[in-house]
């Protein structure tokens, strides 16, 4: 696979890039934040080992000969998430902002510092979100969570273990990945009273829920939330029963893209996950499976009006505040 990709993209890659690409390709890195951490770590390793050829300028050469092809390679391993694109954009902006800096070593040191700062910033943001969101959980709550999101499970666990709240959690899961099992396992280990259900039962369980907490992969400039596939359905049913929906998301995931449907920038899972005709069907698979297509989307876009509040490290915000926050970020960097 790697060789094939190398041939397509052309050129040699740093071992860290290849390793990270394969990890993404095999789905070993769960969650977009994990992948952003991975990306930052990879970038720091690549940058550290990079020496500008004689007579070339470090910034431009690094960008053209190392960064761009590496990202192209990574993108082919697995499409870069919006939060990764954001991270790359900020990285490049910072890089080009150093054109006046003297000495290649100085630039490299400053960039490594930037990467370390970014990593720390994300870590602290998650910590802050955990505190803010956990404070919203009160005794006798019934909290609904969907699939697996490390941030959301950490919030629920914090509310139980540190704030000593007594509440119940309903874990809603869906195929083909059944990531909710991971959440359930973690919650059970933490001693939280949890109930497990399938996404089709949403309407039935929602009557007992009084808070929905979701994670997100990105928040778009029109207030839409890009989350794991099915999250918008959870929010929709919650909305129909007037149950508040909290979406936990770090502000580095706020993007300037706008989207009104789920088809752009999506990822497709393997067809075999949905269509495994050999099992438990008495129909003739050979003749019919060719005519059956599958659409195994991995993300969906939730309209902003389903969301009661975004929980971010800078506080609880409405979805309409996203463009303001991204502009502030931009101005601060400039």
């Amino acid at each position: 696979m790697v060789f094939e990709l190398r041939r397509v993209v052309g050129g040699q890659f740093h071992p860290a890039v290849v390793k990270f690409g394969l990890q993404m390709h095999r789905g070993l890195l769960r969650g977009s934040t994990t992948r952003v951490f991975g990306l930052l770590h990879t970038l720091s390793q690549v940058l550290r080992d990079y020496e500008a050829p004689a007579g070339k300028e470090l910034i431009r050469d690094f960008d053209a000969t190392v960064l761009k092809p590496s990202l192209e390679f990574l993108h082919r391993c697995r499409p870069l998430s919006l939060s990764m694109r954001n991270t790359v954009e900020v990285f490049r902006q910072t890089l080009f902002g150093m054109e006046n800096t003297q000495g290649d070593n100085e630039v490299k040191l400053k960039m490594l510092e930037h990467i370390a700062d970014s990593t720390e910033f994300i870590r602290l943001a998650r910590e802050q979100i955990k505190l803010t969101a956990a404070a919203r959980i009160v005794d006798e709550d019934v909290v609904l969570i969907y699939g697996y999101c490390a941030l959301v499970t950490s919030i629920v666990k914090y509310a139980k273990e540190h704030l000593k709240k007594e509440f119940k959690v309903i874990v809603v899961d869906t195929g083909p990945d059944f990531e909710g099992k991971l959440s359930l396992e973690e919650l059970c280990c933490a001693g939280i009273q949890a109930c497990y259900t399938y996404i089709t039962a949403l309407n039935v369980v929602m009557s007992k829920v009084n808070k929905v907490i979701l994670g997100a992969d990105a928040i778009l400039a029109n207030g839409a939330v890009k989350g794991p596939i099915g999250a918008s359905q959870v929010a929709m049913v919650a909305n129909s029963r007037n149950v508040p929906v909290l979406v936990c998301c770090e502000t580095f995931k706020f993007t300037e893209t706008v989207q009104t449907d789920s088809f752009h920038f999506n990822e497709l899972g393997p067809e075999s996950e949905l269509l495994n005709l050999t099992e438990n069907l008495n129909l003739n698979p050979g003749s019919t499976s060719a005519q059956i297509k599958t659409l195994n989307l991995k993300y969906d876009v939730m309209p902003g009006d389903f969301v009661s509040a975004l929980v971010t490290e800078i506080g609880m915000l409405p979805c309409s505040s996203v463009p303001v926050v991204t502009r502030e970020h931009f101005l601060r960097r400039a």
């Binding site: 396992e185 059970c188 001693g191 929709m236 449907d261 088809f263 499976s289 297509k293 195994n296 876009v301």
Partner: protein
């Protein structure tokens, strides 16, 4: 003897809704053929307790048997009244003219031609039942057009027949099938439709909202139809209907009038949580809490979809809006047989019994 032929019904060994209705109809026909009764009242004495017994039955197909008994009760009442009126008008000159409401018929007068008339009506009902689904599917070409994108969830024989009929009538359209719960019966549906040459795309239940903007029509099957026009259908139907209403996509419910129960949804609230077996998706031994207990699992069989999320019902007798279903109820069933049911009458009053 008369009650013997209904014992089978009470033991609830129905295979599917059609089977339940067929077995019940045969039992009622045998009852009518037998000599254990002389007047209509004797029939009520056998059928009414059976109907009430079936109302409380756990079996998922029992409501269809019960609905059929209610239909038969209505037929007996109508036939009796018709004969009674015919005989009355013959000697009307000897009686005082009646003013206002007629007294409740006693159903106690034995008429010789009642048996024959009942048997005729029952075979009519039997013929109607056989054609139920086919008649419903005849509406398909009106609703499914070439280049349409239709979304359905899980497997329903009525929806299958409906969509296949549309395909046979030369409509070339696209169907998106959602898996439909942990049992994934949607795959059966997808294979069945593909074998008819329909273009099928299979999606997971989580992707229903994501694909809804591309859909022209949602077609769902149902288990029961309530008198208020709501449905008790496969778990997940509410989700699909809600997503459709968000994108203003019409929701068509394919069913037959034998699924129409005379109750209102509040009667079913308690029995809503029938548990389906947990099949393959339960995380088995891996989730044991610290104190050794296992987390609770919730896997309901049915969902309730309120009438405001439904656009059209397609029954064998035609298309209806949800608000008209209560009228169909009074057409099919006699108020005397269903007035004991707790709940409200169609005009919103609490019934006295």
């Amino acid at each position: 003897m008369s009650s013997d032929c209904l014992v089978e019904l009470k033991t609830n060994s129905f295979k599917n809704p059609t089977h339940a209705a067929q077995v019940t109809l045969d039992a009622v026909r045998n009852l009518v053929l037998g000599n254990a009764w002389t007047c209509a009242k004797d029939l009520f004495n056998v059928l009414t307790p059976t109907e009430r017994c079936l109302f409380g039955a756990i079996n998922e197909n029992a409501p269809f048997a019960r609905n059929l008994i209610l239909r038969c009760l209505k037929i007996i009442r109508d036939d009796y009244t018709a004969i009674y009126d015919a005989n009355k008008s013959l000697d009307t000159h000897t009686q005082k003219p009646s003013v206002g409401w007629d007294a409740q018929p006693s159903y106690a007068v034995p008429f010789e031609d009642l048996k024959e008339r009942l048997l005729d009506s029952l075979s009519e009902l039997s013929a109607e039942m056989e054609l139920n689904a086919l008649n419903m599917a005849q509406h398909a070409p009106q609703h499914v057009h070439t280049n349409d994108v239709v979304l359905t969830m899980g497997y329903s024989p009525h929806v299958e027949l409906f969509l296949k009929t549309a395909a046979k009538k030369g409509r070339s359209y696209h169907v998106i099938v959602a898996e439909g719960g942990p049992e994934k019966l949607g795959r059966k549906m997808a294979c069945s439709l593909a074998s008819e040459g329909v273009a099928v795309t299979l999606i997971s239940d989580a992707a229903v909202f994501a694909v809804m903007p591309k859909v022209n029509k949602v077609v769902l099957g149902t288990y029961l139809v309530m008198s208020n026009g709501g449905i008790r259908a496969m778990c997940g139907s509410h989700l699909v209907a809600l997503a459709a209403s968000r994108y203003a996509v019409p929701v068509l419910i394919c069913s037959t009038s034998s699924a129409l129960v005379p109750e209102y949804p509040e009667v079913f609230e308690e029995s809503m949580m029938h548990k389906a077996p947990f099949h393959d998706f339960a995380p088995k031994a891996l989730c044991v809490m610290k104190d050794g207990t296992r987390p609770a699992m919730c896997n309901p069989m049915y969902d309730y979809v309120p009438p405001d999320l439904i656009s059209i019902f397609l029954f064998n007798s035609g298309g209806y809006v949800p608000s008209y279903v209560y009228s169909l109820r009074s057409e099919l069933y006699s108020l005397e047989d269903i007035s004991w049911i707790p709940g409200r009458s169609p005009d919103g009053e609490k019934l006295s019994q």
